[in-house]
């Protein structure tokens, strides 16, 4: 009888086993696909594989030197949930990371939500080693690409920087952002429940396409020389800001472009809000009225249109009346009987107005035809349009059209009432240096192909002629006079023919009504040697306080850089 109870008991246990088998078949075989889908839905995640950002180089004797590159550095983060003793962990980490212990403790304390806190970015290998050796549970080291700028502030306005979101800001980083960024790849990876990818069974859906790298036209040596000269000029003149551009007058390749104030793109985040202006590449972004530096351009338009010649004479009375306005020369000078060469050499405003009248065919009056000729010429030089340089934030400038008043056009002949940039100015004057062809200013020379080869970016560029060679030579010769006996005398160098033109421009008031009393922008644009120029250079000094004329504010810096360039380009002095 009792054995029957045992059999019954054993039999009772058969039932759940049968049910279990049935259920196992249901879950594991019949519903396998259903659960397999759910498993992969929660275990797999799509990740972006970051594309490598393109780098920027300068070339020196066939070697490439980076000015913007990726630096793989460790960063330290923590999962506060895993931190057993925030106080102790903070005490251990504070001296290693050189952080405030209290801040660290606060960051490492679990609040219920903070599963990820960054403790320190960009730690060097020593620090990373110490963090690893501390073996604190929940404190993790990871690699991350950081942008590094080996030349720092020297190339800061050219490179710009990459912000914390990975977007380029200012300069080439912003202008070329899409091209430098490349395209991120896609990775389908199995992860743990926290979403951290496991190293197994990874599946690349799309390979990342790395960003392109470029070689700049800029010469590191010239850039350095220009920077030094600019800084000295600013100190000597107690000036707030300024720029120097050095360009190849034939190709438009920019050899140097420096501005002050500047900033170090490696530490862009430490720039104070009131100093954000230092991010701006004022050579391409800041508009100014060029002043007398503009005169050679007006002259070339008139000569090109056969309205004047070098020896066309003009009788200067020291003033010219246009309607209710009177235009004087600087310091109210009177020059009497002069020719066009002397108009440039002595920077005679009234002479420029006379040229405008001649353009219209009536020596006594400004006419519509004259204004149209000047306007067409100015357009040809590229004023009022962006040059297209590969730098972010370029300003277009502004030229008043021919509906503007006669006085506006009269002022324009000597560079007032026209808004331009330093880069536009140097590009407009390049044809006078190179024999009459327009240049496209640019800072990119070559693209680095995936296999490491370099490819010239500008091949077979046909350059537009905007004036005859004779016109260019005539104006260039006039500009020699400026250096030999005019306002450019401070850059006179024995054995070298330098052509140039100073400009001391008034600064329009912010409200647009008239000009500031005690502010001017001194500039000098010149090129040398005149018969086969190796460079064209613009020096601009804003608001000099000690020397109010460009001949003393901008010209010495030009002379300093020119001297170094002659030796760098190994230009022998004439007659030696």
């Amino acid at each position: 009888m009792s054995n029957i109870r045992l059999y019954v008991l054993a039999g009772i246990f058969v039932l759940p086993m049968v049910i279990i088998f049935g259920r196992l078949v249901t879950v594991q075989v019949l519903k396998h696909n259903f659960y397999a889908d759910k498993a992969s839905a929660q275990q797999s995640r799509q990740f972006e594989i970051p594309a490598k950002r393109g780098e920027l180089y300068v070339e020196e004797n066939g070697e490439l030197y980076p000015v913007a590159l990726n630096n793989s550095l460790k960063y330290v983060y923590a999962d506060p949930q895993l931190i057993e003793d925030p106080k102790e962990a903070a005490a251990t980490l504070a001296p290693i990371l050189q952080s405030e212990e209290k801040d660290l403790e606060k960051k490492l304390t679990f609040t219920g939500k903070n599963r990820y806190v960054e403790l320190k970015q960009q730690v060097d290998q020593d620090v990373a080693k110490k963090v690893a050796e501390a073996k604190i549970r929940g404190v993790v080291l990871r690699d991350r690409d950081y942008r590094a700028y080996p030349e720092g502030a020297l190339f800061g306005h050219l490179t710009g920087y990459v912000n914390s979101d990975g977007r380029g800001q200012y300069g080439l980083e912003e202008y070329l952002n899409a091209d430098l960024s490349g395209r991120n790849g896609q990775l389908k990876a199995v992860t743990d429940s926290q979403g951290v990818p496991l190293s197994t069974q990874d599946n690349i859906i799309e390979e990342p396409r790395n960003g392109s790298s470029y070689v700049l036209t800029v010469d590191r040596y010239i850039q350095g020389v220009a920077e030094k000269a600019l800084k000295k000029a600013l100190v000597d003149n107690k000036a707030a800001s300024g720029s120097i551009i050095v360009m190849d007058p034939y190709t438009g390749a920019i050899k140097a472009m420096v501005n002050a104030p500047d900033y170090d793109p490696n530490n862009y985040a430490s720039v104070k809000p009131e100093d954000y202006g230092s991010f701006i590449n004022s050579a391409v972004s800041s508009q100014f009225e060029p002043g007398s530096g503009f005169k050679p351009l007006t002259m070339s338009i008139a000569i090109e249109n056969d309205k004047v010649e070098a020896n066309t004479s003009f009788n200067d009375s020291g003033e010219v009346v246009i309607g209710e306005y009177t235009i004087n020369n600087a310091d109210k000078k009177k020059f009497g009987q002069v020719d066009m060469s002397l108009v440039i050499k002595n920077s005679i405003n009234t002479g420029m107005v006379y040229i405008l009248k001649l353009m219209g065919g009536n020596p006594n009056e400004i006419t519509k035809a004259g204004k149209e000729m000047l306007y067409a010429g100015i357009q040809k030089f590229g004023f009022g349009q962006k040059t297209g340089v590969e730098l972010a934030g370029e300003a277009a400038g502004r030229v008043k059209d021919t509906k503007a008043a006669d006085i506006d056009y009269a002022n324009m002949t000597f560079g007032q009432g026209i808004a331009t940039t330093s880069l536009q100015m140097i590009s407009a004057l390049a044809p006078i240096a190179n024999g009459g062809t327009k240049v496209e200013p640019h800072v990119l020379a070559k693209k680095v192909l995936p296999n490491g080869d370099l490819e010239e970016i500008r091949k077979n560029i046909t350059q537009e002629r905007i004036m005859s060679e004779e016109t260019a030579d005539t104006v260039a010769n006039m500009m020699i006079g400026v250096v030999e006996g005019g306002s450019g005398y401070l850059t006179r160098m024995p054995g070298y023919k330098i052509a140039g033109k100073t400009g001391t421009a008034q600064v329009p008031k912010a409200n647009g009504q008239g000009y500031e009393e005690n502010k001017n922008i001194g500039s000098f644009i010149g090129f040398a040697p005149v018969n086969d120029p190796k460079f064209i250079m613009l020096v601009r000094v804003d608001y000099p306080q000690t020397n109010t004329y460009a001949e003393r504010s901008a010209v010495p810096a030009f002379a300093e850089v020119a001297k170094q360039l002659f030796s760098y380009y190994q230009v022998p002095p004439e007659g030696s």
Binding site: N3, R5, L9, V27, Q28, A39, Q42, G138, L198
Partner: protein, 412 residues
């Protein structure tokens, strides 16, 4: 030590035969499966829990130590004559109860997942419920055996039995909120009662009162109601109250027929809670598929067969009740664990015998198997127990004499 060796030496003096080796092999297979799973996934679970700062194989190493100690317990229990447990049952039960109460002493008890099931004494932490089950089997069997003559006459004699039983159920189910262990305790108590000399109506009455108590506990404790409603209104969304069971089903279901393969578990990467513990069966399903899960059920089935077989041929009432109790304990615990993983019953925190990570469970179950094996050394031929029931007067001589085996020398 001298006493232990004397106890073991005693076995040789009594007539006996080979123990049930198949039972031993089945248990070793289960422990082996557990070790493999813990080795392959314990490192992941441990890594998740510590953020990689501690030893990756800590789980496996601890389990290895537990198995080593468990083998010592097993050998001891299989060598010591089962009749000694009759004397030890009451002290063991008292110690178990005391340990169960320690759970509620602040500083000693560990509260994990809303249930107080662990006691921490110095470097040791253990689950007293595991030893309570073994103690109850031995105590019930001993008590029913010693009171067998009274059972038919005066049912009031059952009061102490009912008190102990009730106390165990109250401790486990109500105070420790451990419904899984409660089910096992109730099952083993009822089945021991069933195979005892107690009248069948007593068993029936107990069964009905247990069902009533179960219903009451669900009504009284809202969290249990919540679990029940979770179970009844199972939703397939992955998060929320159904998280644990859904993750278990995903592990089992994604394993399919042949599984992802050894060491390829993904659910143990933080998805499935208690992956090496209470949920280890789901990880077996994920890694080894239906072959693994069905295999484990088969092994437990065979284990049940051997256990009941030993009970059937047990030499006396006490050993028979002990054999049934231990077998029912292991089987019920396995079934509760597995059916919970399959969403057939609500989830309760209960380890899968021999397989789940955890020292206390291993020591208790391995001791139980040792006792079962010891009983198997003294089993008699077919019908032996029936014979003994007919000639009750023979009992004395058989109990004291452990006479030579009767009948043919067929092996079994």
């Amino acid at each position: 030590m001298g006493k232990v060796s004397r106890l073991i030496a005693e076995v040789r003096e009594r007539p006996h035969h080979r123990p049930d080796y198949l039972l031993g092999l089945l248990v070793i297979a289960l422990i082996g499966i557990g070790m493999i799973v813990i080795y392959s996934t314990g490192s992941i679970v441990n890594f998740n829990m510590t953020g990689g700062a501690s030893d990756r194989n800590a789980f496996f190493q601890k389990q290895l130590i537990s198995v080593a100690i468990g083998i010592a317990f097993w050998i001891f229990a299989s060598r010591v004559h089962y009749s000694h447990w009759r004397k030890w049952a009451l002290p063991m039960l008292i110690v178990s109860f005391v340990l169960m109460l320690l759970v509620f002493i602040p500083g000693l008890g560990l509260n994990i997942n809303g249930a107080s099931r662990w006691v921490r004494l110095g470097p040791l932490s253990f689950q007293p419920a595991e030893f309570l089950k073994l103690s109850l089997v031995l105590y019930f069997a001993a008590w029913l055996e010693s009171h067998r003559d009274d059972l038919r006459r005066i049912s009031t004699q059952l009061i102490p039995f009912a008190l102990v039983f009730g106390l165990a159920v109250i401790l486990v189910v109500i105070l420790q909120r451990d419904l899984g262990t409660g089910v096992v305790v109730i099952a083993l108590a009822l089945t021991i009662l069933l195979v005892s000399d107690a009248p069948l109506w007593l068993f029936g009455a107990s069964l009905l009162s247990m069902i009533g108590l179960g219903a009451l506990s669900i009504i009284l404790f809202p969290y249990r109601l919540e679990r029940l409603s979770t179970f009844l209104n199972h939703r397939e969304d992955v998060m929320g109250a159904d998280y644990h069971i859904n993750q278990a089903l995903i592990a089992l279901g994604s394993g399919g027929l042949i599984g992802r393969g050894l060491g390829n578990s993904l659910q143990s990467y933080g998805y499935l809670p208690e992956a090496t513990n209470d949920s280890v069966y789901a990880i077996i399903g994920e890694q080894f598929g239906l072959w693994g899960t069905a295999g484990v059920v088969m092994i437990f089935g065979l284990l049940g067969w051997r256990g009941f077989r030993i009970a059937k041929m047990a030499p006396d009432r006490f050993s028979r009740m002990v054999a049934v109790g231990i077998t029912v304990w292991l089987l019920t615990q396995a079934i509760v664990n597995i059916t919970a993983m399959l969403n057939l019953i609500p989830l309760t925190g209960i380890p899968l015998p021999f397989i789940s990570y955890g020292g206390t469970s291993l020591l208790a179950t391995m001791t139980g198997v040792g006792i079962l094996q010891n009983i198997s050394r003294y089993t008699e031929r077919e019908q032996s127990y029936a014979d003994s029931r007919i000639g009750r007067r023979d009992r004395r001589s058989r109990n004291t004499g452990f006479g030579p085996m009767r009948g043919t020398q067929k092996s079994y």
